[in-house]
């Protein structure tokens, strides 16, 4: 079975072409990390997860705030619809990387429904590891002069 991928960004590199992947590879993406076991740290994070964690790194945010920020910092290359967003948040919550806060936005019209999310200690550690890995990867690219001329 084949699946039409809608996810056009992998590790920050935009692939403008819609391409076709086997269905199973999409499903493998369902867990937030490349590693199936839940107790170990993953090898790498998917862009959606990385940017979600990044968006929460400075202050708790509500769902729409997260997707806004992700869209802004990636200049629209990673867009998160509500389903992706809350599916991801639910899984991150189950893993103990983020949690819902008790804080509600009383000024908002749908006050009691606007939940805020914040990073947990584990979530912060995972984010830091991933940021380091990406930095190393970028460093490597610079050493090999991949970035020259861009």
């Amino acid at each position: 079975m084949l699946h039409l991928s809608t996810d056009a960004t992998i590790d920050g590199v935009k692939k403008s072409k819609v391409y076709i992947r086997p269905f199973r590879s999409v499903l493998r993406e369902a867990p937030v990390s490349a590693q199936r076991s839940d107790d170990e740290r993953p090898d790498y994070l998917t862009p959606v997860v990385y940017h979600t964690l990044l968006a929460l790194s400075q202050e708790p945010k509500h769902g729409y705030g997260i997707s806004q920020e992700v869209s802004e910092v990636t200049e629209g290359r990673v867009t998160m619809g509500p389903g992706t967003l809350y599916g991801t948040l639910q899984r991150l919550n189950e893993k103990g990387w983020v949690r819902r806060t008790e804080q509600v936005d009383s000024a908002a019209p749908h006050a009691e429904r606007r939940r805020y999310y914040e990073l947990t200690r584990t979530g912060r550690a995972v984010l830091r590891d991933e940021a380091r890995r990406l930095a190393r990867a970028a460093e490597l690219a610079r050493e090999r002069a991949v970035l020259r001329g861009s």
């Binding site: 499903l27 729409y64 619809g81 509500p82 389903g83 599916g87 639910q90 749908h110 009691e112 606007r114």
Partner: protein
């Protein structure tokens, strides 16, 4: 609905496709996201790009979440040891699925039969359960009773005055709480557009009596019920969500209700259902009794409070009833002026449910028959399959398969079929209950409480699984017992199985046709009644008539009330398009009656009537040009005039039935009568006119005597104003309501309907029952056709060799066609004969639902027999023709 709201609603519908647990957790937030987005980027919901993004996101989420849900469910499924039961079962399941996939038609037939039967049965049972059986949704509902006045000739318990309530509350020892309620319509203004909402004025004990308290905030104490008590209000969850978006800050705010400001102090829980026996359906707010009019409050004679009480734990219905009767006598003695009063009680459940059973129980019986037919059909199909497989079974047995192994295989198959059919049935039931809640008769009580409960769905699946397992296992016992040699030799292609098997199949067809003719006869009788009801001459013309019901506050002088209704009718008459206006106390077909007894010279009374003070008759007051407006024909004399008021001579109009009773074949105009409640000094009443009979109580009630008085000679505060216009009645209603509110903004309008709608409503539940039973009859007939066709087709296919031999020996094809047809028709005919016998008994229980036909109506029964016979013959025709067209050479070559 704005565009954004519409988009949000569309999105909410899309979200329904997500797995339930995911939706439960995230739906609200996803909706909030959606709203935030549309607020942050106005107009985005109108762009296709946005929707493309949403749909992509949804497709992705659906895939991921459903996959996660399913794999989680599978992983949690424990699998015991290798090679053991579970594995064997899975193997059996695979074999069953594979073998069924080779016969998709049969599979479809079995599944749809189970789905329809189980689904319909679960739907009807859910409704019956929700309406009749389920306890009311209150704390210890068995102890809640309606309390009130009991009156001869009027069903149920009646309203009580405020002063009597005070005394009952002080003196009774039976109730922990005794609360009053009075429905009202009030205009809510302030927040948003003004809106007419249904309100109940209730005493502080109301919430305690039901055992249901506000989910947020609080209710009020007894002090608020006293005159000049604090104006506070408790809202329903529904109106709170609708008008204030569920904002918790609303507590403590004030709102305007019909010109008075009320402070919101509590919100009822979402699940709270106002007691239907007390309030009008859809009550959305509760205010203290303090809002009662001071004059009303001080009158012991005017009853307008409906009471409910919660019995003390140690008190039973009987002793409470005895105490109430004693209290009634005590109050009548202490305050004799409003007259004798009797108090009594009735369980709230009975008062709520009323006689809903009379229309629901026929449905339950009908669906039971349908389910039985469905089961028989499945049994028949499985039986055929078992015989078909006899050869295979024998072969497997030869190869060393144990008997238990073989039976298990068949059982697994039945289990799978039952499970799939049950799930299908559960889906049908969910849809059915939703449809019932949407299209069911509006008068049905507790419609809002009908839900598909989990345990009903489970029992539906269990019934279906049992059917599947039972009917697959019966033939399997026989199948595995038979001698291998005969099975292998028979090979499933010789004769049509064994003789006992053929007999069993015939018996099933007999039962099936018997059940379906019962259903077809019942459906026919009900439809026949409905047709007759629709063509009844009601004696009036409802087309173009609009009705608006007003209750004028009690306690004002008759002159004031009279003037009010006169002004109201004059005002309505000035509305453009109105041709005639009148008013009456009881609309035709309303089922309400007011009765009195009268005497007239020359009238012969039965002994009983003479003792009770005269001949009993329904009466009503009419005003304006009532007869002209309703299109009731004047047969003799005159209608009422403006001069027939309090100062004029007392007059009355009779209908033809009463005229006939008074002066058979003579002129009744000018004759006199005295009423049983007249004082001696009052002059007799003169009859001034005769009008045609109308169906005053019900469509079925023919020739009941009716007496009409001019409104001004017998003033009452509750009137139904009728107006006839050039167009449809409904088009007059807005202007009529405006007229009422312009004069009295606080006046509750109990009803504002088109008269044709009102007439249709009076037969709504009959119509509903008739259509549902007919629907079941059609399904039953379809299932029977399938059954007859399947059985015969199978028999013919099994007899191909025999038929081939016959043809080869020179038997004419027509003779074979006839023989096959005859055999099948004979079986069906036996079933029909048995079924008609059963129907004659069954339809007796239907009599209350019939009109104009007897339960043994020969035309209906005859038609039903013809329909079933023709359907069965038609179903046999295809296999019979196939039998006659067997090519002798081909079938002999099979040897």
């Amino acid at each position: 609905m704005s565009r954004v709201e519409f988009a949000a609603a569309a999105y909410r519908i899309l979200l329904k496709a997500l797995p339930p647990h995911f939706r439960e957790r995230n739906e609200k937030e996803m909706m909030a996201w959606f709203r935030d987005h549309s607020a942050a980027r106005p107009g985005s919901t109108a762009r296709p790009g946005f929707w493309l993004m949403i749909l992509k996101d949804l497709a992705r989420t659906l895939t991921v979440e459903w996959w996660t849900t399913l794999t989680m469910a599978l992983r949690n499924n424990p699998r015991k040891g290798e090679g053991g039961g579970m594995d064997g079962l899975l193997h059996d399941a695979r074999v069953s699925i594979r073998s069924f996939c080779r016969r998709p038609g049969l599979l479809l037939l079995i599944l749809s039969t189970l789905g329809i039967g189980v689904g319909a049965a679960t739907t009807v049972y859910s409704v019956v359960h929700g309406v009749l059986l389920a306890p009311l949704p209150y704390e210890e509902p068995g102890r809640i009773v309606r309390v009130g006045k009991i009156s001869e000739g009027r069903a149920g318990v009646l309203a009580v005055s405020a002063l009597d309530l005070d005394d009952l509350q002080d003196r009774n020892r039976s109730f922990t709480e005794l609360a009053a309620s009075r429905p009202a319509n009030m205009t809510l203004s302030g927040a948003g557009e003004p809106e007419l909402i249904r309100v109940a004025m209730v005493s502080s004990q109301f919430f305690g009596a039901l055992g249901r308290h506000p989910a947020m905030g609080r209710a009020w104490g007894p002090a608020a019920d006293e005159p000049n008590g604090a104006p506070v209000i408790v809202l329903s969850d529904g109106i709170w969500q609708r008008r204030w978006g569920g904002d918790p800050q609303v507590l403590g705010r004030t709102i305007m209700l019909s010109g008075t400001s009320f402070t919101i102090i509590g919100i009822m829980p979402r699940a709270f259902v106002p007691p239907e026996a007390l309030s009008q359906r859809g009550t959305e707010a509760w205010i203290p009794l303090a809002s009662l009019d001071a004059v009303e409050r001080s009158q012991r004679g005017s009853g307008f409070l409906q009471l409910i009480g919660r019995l003390r734990p140690e008190v039973n219905l009987e002793s409470a009833n005895t105490e109430l009767a004693a209290l009634g006598a005590e109050l009548s003695r202490d305050y004799p002026e409003p007259g004798e009063r009797t108090f009594g009680l009735s369980p709230l459940h009975d008062e709520t449910v009323g006689d809903a059973g009379s229309s629901l129980l026929p449905l339950l019986a009908a669906v039971g028959l349908l389910l039985a037919i469905g089961c028989i059909n499945v049994a028949n199909l499985l039986l055929m399959r078992a015989s078909e497989r006899a050869h295979q079974t024998a072969l497997r047995s030869c190869l060393g398969a144990g008997r238990g192994r073989l039976i298990r295989q068949v059982m697994t198959e039945g289990l799978l079929l039952g499970l799939a059919g049950g799930l299908l049935g559960a889906l049908v039931a969910v849809a059915g209950v939703k449809a019932f809640a949407a299209f069911g008769p509006a008068q049905l009580p507790r419609l809002a409480e009908i839900t598909v409960s989990a345990h009903l769905l489970v029992s539906a699946i269990v019934i279906s699984v049992l059917t599947g397992v039972l009917f697959s296992i019966i033939p399997s016992f026989r199948g595995s017992k038979a001698s291998l040699a005969s099975r292998l030799a028979g090979g499933g292609r010789g004769r049509s199985g064994s003789r006992t098997e053929a007999r069993l199949r015939d018996a099933l067809v007999v039962a099936e046709s018997a059940f379906s003719i019962v259903l077809v006869i019942c459906g026919g009788l009900l439809l026949n009644s409905l047709l007759r009801l629709n063509t009844v001459d009601t004696g009036f013309h409802p087309e173009g008539v609009a009705v608006i019901s007003l209750s004028y506050p009690e306690g004002e002088s008759p002159e004031q009330v009279g003037r009010f209704f006169d002004d109201m009718m004059d005002g309505i008459a000035r509305i453009p398009g109105v041709r005639a206006v009148g008013a009456t106390v009881n609309l035709p077909l309303s089922g309400n009656r007011r009765m009195l007894r009268f005497n007239a010279p020359g009238l012969t009374l039965s002994e009983d009537d003479a003792e009770r003070g005269g001949y009993p008759v329904n009466y009503q007051q009419v005003a304006g040009s009532y007869f002209e407006t309703m299109g009731v024909a004047l047969r003799n004399g005159r209608t009422f005039a403006r001069s027939d008021d309090g100062s004029g001579p007392r007059v009355a109009i009779v209908n033809e039935s009463l005229a006939q009773r008074l002066v058979p074949n003579g002129d009744v105009v000018g004759s006199r009568m005295t009423l049983s409640d007249d004082s001696v000094a009052q002059p007799p009443i003169t009859i001034v006119g005769v009008v045609s009979d109308t169906r005053q109580q019900r469509l079925e009630a023919v020739g009941e005597p009716e007496l009409y008085f001019p409104f001004h000679q017998r003033v009452t505060g509750r009137m139904e104003i009728v107006a006839r216009g050039a167009g449809p009645g409904a088009s007059l209603l807005p202007a009529m309501r405006e007229q009422v509110w312009a004069a009295r903004p606080d006046l509750p309008i109990r009803r504002s309907v088109d008269m044709t709608h009102f007439v249709a409503q009076s037969v709504a539940d009959r119509r509903f029952v008739a259509w549902v039973v007919t629907g079941f009859a059609v399904l039953a007939l379809a299932l029977t056709i399938v059954g007859v066709y399947g059985t015969l087709a199978y028999a013919v296919s099994q007899r191909r060799r025999e038929l081939g031999v016959r043809l080869a020996m020179g038997a004419p094809r027509a003779a074979i066609l006839r023989a096959v047809l005859f055999r099948s028709t004979r079986t069906v005919a036996v079933g029909i004969a048995l079924g008609v016998g059963a129907a004659l008994v069954a339809t007796r229980f239907l009599e209350s639902q019939l009109f104009g036909v007897t339960s043994t109506d020969p035309l209906t029964v005859g038609t039903a027999i013809a329909v079933v016979l023709v359907a069965a013959t038609a179903a046999s025709l295809v296999p019979a023709r196939r039998a006659a067209s067997v090519d002798p050479m081909v079938s002999l070559r099979l040897e």
